[in-house]
Amino acid sequence: MTAQEIYDVLKTTFGDAIVELKLDILQPWIRIEPDKTRDICLFLRDESVMQFDYLSCLSGVDYNNGTFGIVYHLASMVHKHKIVLKTFCTKDHSHVHSVSDVWGTANWHEREVFDLFGIIIDGHPDLRRILLPDDWEGNPLRKDYKVQEFYHGMKVPY
């Protein structure tokens, strides 16, 4: 299925939660509302014409203008099609619902997003830092990140 067809099916099922489709680029993406991500992803995984059973990658992005984004790259092993989903949230209210019960791999990817960006993933079974030490301050991949001076007595900036 092409991105336009996937967008049309999603639009008829979910209506306003599907915000827009960006089409004339290398890899078209569909923007969805953050509070409906789990339902949309469950539909994409289970619906027979879609069957997006493989979550290739889940990344966080800091757009440097006060919004964060989460980008989902989905693929289907059955139908061999791919799609990109994006949700945006603001810096003050950075909450996204977890999809870790839709795809088990999202568990660690979402922990990484929480660790490096500070976006709270609601409904995640085990939300804690994964790559950085548990008592690290700050979220490094944010564009306005200032590294801390000392960590356990060691000087951090070199």
């Binding site: 059973d53 493989y54 290739s56 990658c57």
Partner: protein, 396 residues
């Protein structure tokens, strides 16, 4: 949907069975044991927090991040996309060519550059040589994990010959900075083709020797068959890829199913695990998939060397790399450990805006709690080894 595996029936003594000679049952409790970041069998700095009941694992929680080197943040500070290539090398240091190729492929697709055909052929040759080298490490260290110390050095002798080929070409044995965006840093040296054909002739019988020595050894089979079984649906649910996925019986190889470069022109087959000595998806299956993949890589290299066209490998290297504003792309390739993907976003300047590296070892490791439950600690060592992680890729 995801049921923990039932206890294997050959472990007849269960916790709670222990009685003194006067008939008093000993109270047993669970214990948390740390298989710490410094351990000879965890293949790097990986900490496993294991909850054990006797010696049977109830839960296993991996803690990673000891080798986190901020690759993604570094990329944003680079002044040029080509500068990212040495950093991409260092993520999976056992398989550097495939890391570089994936990033170069992503940048080339974003910039819409077509590389000369000679470059494609050389990249395939290098990537397949690298895949053999990486699988040799996996197989050798896996033998050590199960107590077989001999095959380790045998595989490293063979690996030295591959590293000699790489050193001849680009000067480095392990971290090459060879595959640049738009081409390669050096063309093949004069006697590369002869030496590579010599290596192929030398290595083919060595695979059979390694199989006789390790793979079909009765002790190895008993230790790896029916251990760490990863069912097909669990594997897809956890987005496992590479030999681990194919070992579970899933016929999925990105070189054929999401094709890139010239793989569609060459004659080779993805290798699938069939449960020949145990269950489909056990540790032995993952091991035999790696052994057979090495053989297939030899076929690919032979065909690529035979069909190598003439050309200039530096012709398409752009002088200035400046993608369009808001250009972004996710490219996935079949690295030695599975699906290596790069998601690159550009903001119109010469530095990348966001680079996300999807490391296969990171994703493959997340399935370890599911497959280690119910086994013994000795099985955990082999299960973790069969996933073939490289902590550089897990932590980036």
């Amino acid at each position: 949907m995801l049921q923990p595996p039932t206890l294997p029936t050959n472990y007849t003594v269960k916790p709670g069975d222990l009685k003194t000679s006067t008939g008093r049952t000993i109270r047993t409790e669970e214990m948390i044991i740390n298989m710490g970041p410094q351990h000879p069998s965890t293949h790097g700095v990986l900490r496993l927090e294991i909850v054990v009941d006797g010696e049977i694992i109830v839960d296993c929680i991996p803690h990673i991040g000891y080798l986190h080197r901020c690759f993604e943040k570094h990329c944003e500070q680079m002044t040029n996309y080509q500068q990212v290539i040495p950093y991409a090398d260092r993520m999976d240091y056992c398989s550097a060519m495939t890391n570089e190729w994936a990033f170069a492929l992503a940048a080339e697709r974003m910039l819409k550059i077509e590389v000369p055909e000679r470059v494609e052929y050389i990249r395939v040759i290098m990537a397949e040589l690298q895949r053999i080298a990486s699988h040799l490490i996996a197989v050798g260290t896996y033998g050590i994990d199960s107590g077989a110390f001999t095959p380790f050095l045998y595989t490293f002798i063979d690996r030295e010959k591959i590293l000699d080929l790489f050193e001849m070409t680009c000067g480095a044995r392990l971290l090459y900075n060879y595959i640049w965006i738009g081409g390669l840093s050096h063309d093949l040296p004069v006697n590369f083709i002869e030496q590579a054909m010599d290596f192929i002739r030398y290595f083919r019988p060595r695979i059979k020797m390694l199989n006789d020595l390790l793979t079909y050894n009765e002790i190895f089979v008993k230790r790896t068959a029916n251990v760490g079984v990863l069912p097909k649906d669990v594997a897809i649910h956890y987005a496992v890829s590479g030999p681990q996925l194919r070992g579970s019986g899933v016929n999925w190889d990105l070189r054929r199913d999401d094709p890139y470069s010239i793989y569609h022109k060459l004659d080779w087959q993805p290798q699938i695990g069939k449960g020949e000595v145990g269950t489909v998806g056990d540790c032995w299956d993952r091991h035999i998939v790696r052994m057979r993949e090495m053989e297939q890589s030899l076929n690919i290299i032979e065909q690529a060397l035979a069909g190598l066209p003439e050309g200039n490998v530096k012709a398409a290297i752009p002088k200035r790399i400046r993608p369009e504003k808001d250009a972004e792309i996710y490219v996935r390739t079949e690295a030695s450990r599975g699906e290596l993907g790069y998601y690159i976003m550009s903001d119109g300047t010469a530095s990348p805006f966001r680079v996300k590296a999807r490391g296969p070892a990171f994703v493959n490791l997340s399935v370890l709690p599911e497959i280690a439950r119910g086994g013994l600690i000795a099985d955990l060592v082999l299960t973790a080894g069969s996933i073939d992680i490289v902590l550089g890729e897990v932590d980036r």
